[in-house]
Symmetry: C7
Subunit: 252 residues, 7 copies
């Protein structure tokens, strides 16, 4: 009881520290991320892949309307996990910053630069009063002007991190373990898609369906964000024997 009361005293206000130096509102926002379905990013030698688990609440919902993968610029995609409406705000922010960069410097924004623009924006919502933190984490994948694939993560505290491969959202611990055990630095983009799919399948005993997931890639040569069609996803699922037998209609 005592410990719990102690905690309650510090986690109601957004902008204050607890006696042990933690920001509870930010940690609770991380829980909002965990409540969202999983998103996975894997960096290959020749590109980046983003994979998202789309939970369709009803057979009548358009699967395309479950927005978890977004094109931020020609060469950058963003996958999110957590509070969907919050994600849309950050995506809009990312798109505006990308456009401004093109207008101002006449060149595509760097993946790291864009990531840090976003995390600085997120941090403001954890320090200044009058608003709550963003309840969403992002995977920002793209290819820089020099052809280097990059994969970054933003979290509700506003900390940027670069990854070779990363899972966020529901079941991230299991998926991340799978990635750590199976990631190889010389992956090609096709293999990276496969790794991402297999890591997600670990937490889906019943297998995967093309309609229940989304996949996007940015390859190093074209530097173009491309979303895979259901048919293309099906091919991958067949290749890796991950195809579920019946349609997955789990609830979000």
């Amino acid at each position: 009881m005592q410990g719990q009361n102690q905690q309650q005293a510090y986690d109601r206000g957004i902008t204050i520290f607890s006696p042990d130096g933690r920001l509870y509102q930010v940690e609770y926002a991380r829980e909002a991320v965990k409540r969202g379905s999983a998103s996975i990013g894997v960096r290959a030698e020749d590109g980046v892949v983003l994979l998202v688990d789309k939970r369709i609440r009803s057979s009548l919902m358009e699967e395309t309307s479950v927005e978890k993968i977004h094109k931020a610029d020609n060469h950058i995609g963003i996958a999110s996990a957590g509070h969907v409406a919050d994600a849309r705000q950050l995506i809009d922010f990312a798109r505006r910053n990308s456009q401004v960069n093109r207008l101002r410097y006449d060149e595509a924004i760097g993946v790291e630069t864009l990531t840090k623009d976003i995390t600085d924006h997120i941090q403001q919502y954890t320090q200044v009063g009058g608003a709550r933190p963003f309840g969403v984490a992002l995977l920002i994948g793209g290819v820089d002007e020099d052809g280097s694939p990059r994969l970054f993560e933003t979290d509700p505290s506003g900390t940027p991190n670069e990854w070779k491969a990363l899972a966020i959202g529901s079941g991230r611990d299991d998926i991340q373990s799978y990635l750590e055990e199976n990631y190889q630095s010389d992956l090609e983009l096709d293999e990276a898609v496969g790794l991402a799919l297999r890591s997600l399948a670990e937490s889906h005993e019943e297998g995967l369906t093309a309609s229940g997931i989304g996949v996007a890639t940015v390859d190093a040569e074209s530097r173009s964000f491309v979303e895979l069609t259901n048919d293309e996803i099906d091919e991958y699922l067949d290749d890796f024997d991950l195809q579920a037998e019946s349609d997955d209609e789990s609830e979000e």
Copy 2:
């Protein structure tokens, strides 16, 4: 008791997360939606239909003044469920955005674009302090410039979703089940009106009356929002044998 106190600590302030990452004020606003009478949307191959259940509090109230279906633009209608006054704010917002789009780009706004304008507006009320979330859900139905019928939902969190058919408000679970079991993707608009009426009738044992419901359609060819007259509704009710024997004067 403990669990309840726990909850009370996090649901009073609008802009903060609970320890498990939820935004209680948004979830309570969803309850306000459930308190409202049902609205139903069905997308056909050649148009969209919106159907609303109008609860008249008294025989002296003008049925036409129970505003649950609104024309947002020539080609887009909006049906609401929940807090009526809040709905009016969002409808006004939608109309202004539609007009601005015509002025600025000299063309009709896309149904998805309008939906996302609205959800971004709604999201602000869940993150920034000094106001409560909107206690209303909307069904936004229309036909895009290319003739595609579209049907979107907005909820109090500001998340946009696209649907083939959807019910919001009181009794939505039962109606949605009926829709899921009976929806066919090759519906024509007339059949869609029928499906919507039959799904609503499921929760009205005593049958329906033209004065107690409202129906509007946007057909793909004319791209024009049209509200059905009571006589036209009566015809449908007769066709489907859904006509109540006496006037329905249930309370809202």
Copy 3:
């Protein structure tokens, strides 16, 4: 006890939802309306009548200063029930909007348009922080340019409704029942005045007095707001045998 504490937790702040999706401050403002003396509106074929119950606190108070009927524009009158000072704010708002409409469009404002201007204004006070809702309901009666008599209601939530006949304020349930039982759609204005008087008399066993009530009409032909003199009211009371034997000095 439990239920009560539960309630207390959500009804202190103006802008938040309770767990069951209600806005307590708005509901309490409705109680403020019920504490006010009754106002009645009846729509006839050829006009609208507004009737108010004026409670004079003392024989020395000027009955004319109990402002419950207001002229909003030449063709629109407004009767209020509830917090008097709040009503004055909305009346001022209505008058300004009517004038602006004349200046801007060179024509009299529509009754429905004016009503919705007012309800949108009211809604703001239920969503944005820093103020309480308006503790008043209004009956807005007038005649549109096409000669149609209209009668609208606004409540503290900001919801507009159109009525054939309606009572607001103290004793509204009884009066409304009387109206529902006795209203006929082909009423002439004189008969409507009589219906309103008789419905109020239901809750005044001792009868009515001209000084204790106020009556105003807008007839469809002249489209002019007119307040009846005490002598004119006396005539009606005599006609309907509703005259009290002694002066009514009930307290407000």
Copy 4:
């Protein structure tokens, strides 16, 4: 106990309703009015009289500095009861509005117009947050351009009322009863002064003293606000046999 706790929950914040639709802060401000010494207004056929009970805390205090009667304009006087410093703010507001009226329309402001300017100002302090209501009631007496004497009251809620005769402040119930029993509509100004003095004397067993009261009149012919000298008051007290035997030094 229960009832009391119930009440405590709603009377701390200025801008919210209690479950029964009351605004406690406004009601408490009315208590501040009752804590002030009495002020009385009486309307005669040919003018208006304002009478105030001045409580001198010490024989060394200048009686003239107990400001309870104020000249708002040549033709309008204001008597207050309650929080003195709050009264001064409203008097300043009244004077500015009177001057503005003269400048803008080149004519003296109407007594009713001025009253409603003041009550609208007062109402704002009961609805918008960040300030408390005014803890004062005013009697506004004057003569309109057509020679009609007018007497208005403002209370902390911002409700305007017109009276033939009225008492506010400490002991108002007894004084008002006396006024109701003895007021006659054909009073001349001199008689009105007498009535006011006699009504106040009812609650002063020891009689009145010129130094303990203030009297001002606006007569219909001259339309001029005039404060009576102590000698003139003494004459009235002698005439009505209301003179106290020794000086009254009651505390405020």
Copy 5:
């Protein structure tokens, strides 16, 4: 206990009324005044005298730095009791207003005008949120252009009062009683200084010392604020046999 809890509920916020119509924050600010050492003002026929009790905390403190008497303008002095830093704000306010008056109207500000400027300023801090009331009372003494000596008091509520003689601060009740018993309206300035000194001595059994008090006068002829030197004060103390035997070093 009950009464105390009752009180606690209303005295924490600055801008709200208690159920009995009191503003606790203002009353507590009056306690801050009582905690300050005494200040005394006496009006003579030919001028005004201000006398302050200066408590020196240490023999090393410069007695002149205990600022309790201030020159507001050539013809006006101000003595304070209570929160010293608050007093300085009001003195600055008074000086600015005096200067502005000279610039704008080319004449010295009236003592009553200045007083009311100050009290209106003080009142704002008791009604509008975001600040606490001023914890200080002022004695404002001066000579008007017509040669009339005036003596006013301001208190934390913002109420102005005019006095013949007055004490504020610690021990004010005893000093005021002495003043009431011994004040005569035909005092000359020298006698007024004596009266003020004798009234203060009543509460100083050990007698007074020139270094422990401050005296200033404004005489009617010169209309000039003059502070007495320690030698001049010593003369008065000798004349009235009020000289303490040893230096007074009481704490503030």
Copy 6:
């Protein structure tokens, strides 16, 4: 218990009075001053000396970085005790005001003028909401244009006082007692340095070290702020036999 609860109710908000007229936040800020190491000021006939006790937390900390003596202008130094970061804000404020004075009036600012600029600034933080008081006291020593040495104190309430000699911060009571017993008004600057050192040594049984203290003087002739070197301080310590045997590394 009772008394303590009573207190808790009033000391959480910055801008409110307790029932006995105290401002707890200001009194707690005074505790912050007492938590700081001591600073001492002594006024001599021919100058002013400021002495500070510097607590070095670690042998690796640069002693010069413990900023407790600051040059505000050529002729004015300031020593602080309490919250270091708050002191820096006031020092910056003092320097800006000194520069502005030179620019505006082409002369050095008076010591008293500067002090009162600072205290007025401090007072604002005790009355207006949205910030806490400054947790620091200052000793402001300098020489005016006429060659007079001046020594002032500011405290967290914003009260200015002038002193012959004063200690603030940790152990101030003992040091002040020593100063009161040993101060002589005809001290020369060298002797004043000695008095300050001896008074501090009273609370340092182990003696003083040059590195653990800071000394600055402004002499009346040059009107120049000068900080003593460690060698110069060592000489004084030797002269007065106050030298510690080993280095002092007490914690702050």
Copy 7:
């Protein structure tokens, strides 16, 4: 229990003092610093070294993305400990100030000047409401224009201090003890790197790895910030026999 409740009362609001004069929010922010991995700074005769402990959460995280050493300007580096997103804000602030200095004065900013710009910025967040303090400490190391190496610390209160050598973050007490025992003022830069590495190794029984730490130097001659490569770090680790046997993957 008592003591704990006492504490809870004062540590929730950012801008208020506790009864013993402490600012709990600032002290809790210091805890956030202690939760971060260690950073170490050592000043040599010919330069400054910054060393940081980088905790990689997963083998898939890019070690370079754990930003704990930042280049503020050509001649200044900053190492942080604590809340990463907060650190980024201060680094951005530092970079902007450095650039502005170059633009405005056409010269590199002094290390001390930059430090104090930052601490003044930090202090604002501890005094003015509406935001929380920064949960981060910084080590600011650089070389001034005269070739002097400087090493400063900023803490969450906004206090600047200069050091010869300092550790912040997790395990700082042990590392600081090691530094105090082994620091010599005539260190050369290479030796300083060694000292920093050995002091960190004290708390890493398993030894250090190049990938788990970051090292940067600014040498006095070139005045250039340089980050060491993993190979260069490996050389140092070999030289000092601090190399761990296997890769360190401790969690942050």
